[in-house]
Amino acid sequence: METSKEKISRNQTIERDVLSVSEKTGSWYWLLLFFTVCLTALGFIMWGNQILTGMGLAGKNNPVGWRFYITNFVFWVGIAHSGTLISAVLLLFRARFRSSFNRAAEAMTVFAVMTAGLFPLIHLGRAWKFYWLFPYQNQRLLWVNFKSPLIWDVFAVSTYFTVSVVFFYVGMIPDLAVARKHSLGIKKLFYSILSLGWQGTELQWKHYRWLCIFLAAFATPLVVSVHSVVSWDFAMSLIPGWHTTIFAPYFVSGAIFSGTAMVITLVVPMRKIFSLEKYITEDHFENIAKILIVTSLIVGYAYIVEPLLAIYSGNIFEKSQFYYRFFGEHWFAAGIMLTCNAILPATLFVKKLRRNIKYLFIMSIFVNIGMWLERYVIIVTSLSHDYDPYAWGTWFKPTYTELGITIGSFGLFFTLYLLFIKFLPILSISEIKEVSE
């Protein structure tokens, strides 16, 4: 039993610990931020050049019309989903262990969706006409094609972005008020505006509680639906290797898989640098690792089921496609994908490894490499080898533009994340206080 004195100091300690993060950022932070800003700038310069010169700068051809950009799009949207799972779904399930991760996870969601949202623009052949993808009143009396999965994407990702931002922001309001309490001058004004004058009265808490639950209730189906809609970009086509009903659950679990891995990648160094070991413990990590195992198993199941059914069906297009996927020109990428996504995470069944934070960190990087390659393999191999053998063909080498933009997307994500660390409370103060009660 804690003494009252200990209880008093604990709440204040929580506040102090979390808010002092923005002071602990030394020159290493600014160096890192400069580096990520440079990467972002590289990405944007490459994109600008691509708009001026043509999509031909990216490594695509007939038949492979989609490659790096759609891979990146699905990758980033996938990463976003895990954040929503942790903050929204686990809220509804009243899982207490989410409290230490959920702010970082929500931030990751928002920034990942922002990064992902750029890619439908980047991959447009005529990017300057991007606004035609949104339904608006125009002189031509022409709307958008609501039957097209790309328009479903527009709605799904826009909704996801809006709801995630709202959820992220709303969850931060009490913490921004706490930050306001502890800051001075321009910072105080910044936090005051952001916190909307929140005080924490019982009236405010009464409605706030319901707001969070409702938002979580809205965000939860988004976890399942948004990535399902993104997966239907592929499943609604008729290409063998794409046209299959397993895509929605396959992609959603894959999304949670890669997103959880990205949470680990972000939180482990954050925890170390800002000495937040008290708040993010091995128990938390073990639970997160369990999510990794479950989703890895689902993804592994899909890896087995698809080729198996292709062989069983006897459909020559399917059989040929899956043979090509694993033994054709892209066998190397497919091999890494299988290893990183299905084989390596199985080691997490061992409890000791689950609780080993260094191991989890390395595992999370492999998982993200594997998941990126999974989207690449799905997209490129299916397009390279479909119905008409004359049209078979692929593209191997990445071009500078593609690489630059991919690296730029990582740069953008980490820039935003670093800025988040500096300026916003990286842990959910009020929830931790409540949970440790």
């Binding site: 609501f146 479903w152 009265t201 009236l203 409702f214 938002l215 809205f218 988004l222």
Partner: protein
């Protein structure tokens, strides 16, 4: 004339609150500030449950209807044949309706929250009043 009592410990704060009520201070004059939602306060300061769900429901319903009405209207206004699919294709519109339900519901809930919580409070933004301790009881009109 208002009074305020600050505490760092929850139980002490709750006892004081009960004491205040027992001593006859009208509930409408008492306001508390807590670092997180304390459910015991709800039992002590009884109030009507939140009506936020009305906004949620209305927003979601509006979104659902809009999600069907808008695509149906646009496809009927210019019947373009794509892929031989029926011009009004409900399965495709379900997805739009689903997303718009969530979007409108979430936004309606948020704005409902702002409305009910009377946020943003301009005075509190410009000249914020914060307390050192975690739990605070505010009593208005100086009544004991």
């Amino acid at each position: 004339m208002s009074q305020h009592f600050v505490f760092d410990e929850k139980n002490v704060f709750l006892n004081k609150l009960r004491e205040l009520l027992k001593s006859g201070v009208p509930q409408k004059n008492i306001s508390v500030i807590t670092p997180y939602h304390v459910h015991e306060v709800d039992e002590i300061l009884v109030s009507a449950p939140s009506k936020l769900r009305i906004f949620t429901f209305a927003g979601a319903l509006l979104g659902g209807i809009a999600g069907f009405a808008f695509p149906i209207y646009t496809t009927l206004s210019w019947k373009i044949n794509v892929g031989g699919k029926p011009v009004v294709s409900i399965p495709a519109f379900v997805i739009i309706a689903f997303e718009l339900t969530i979007l409108f519901g979430a936004l309606a809930t948020f704005f409902g929250f702002l409305l009910f919580s009377k946020l943003p409070v301009l005075k509190q933004i410009i000249d914020p009043v914060d307390y050192d301790k975690q739990f605070v009881i505010l009593v208005k009109n100086g009544e004991k």
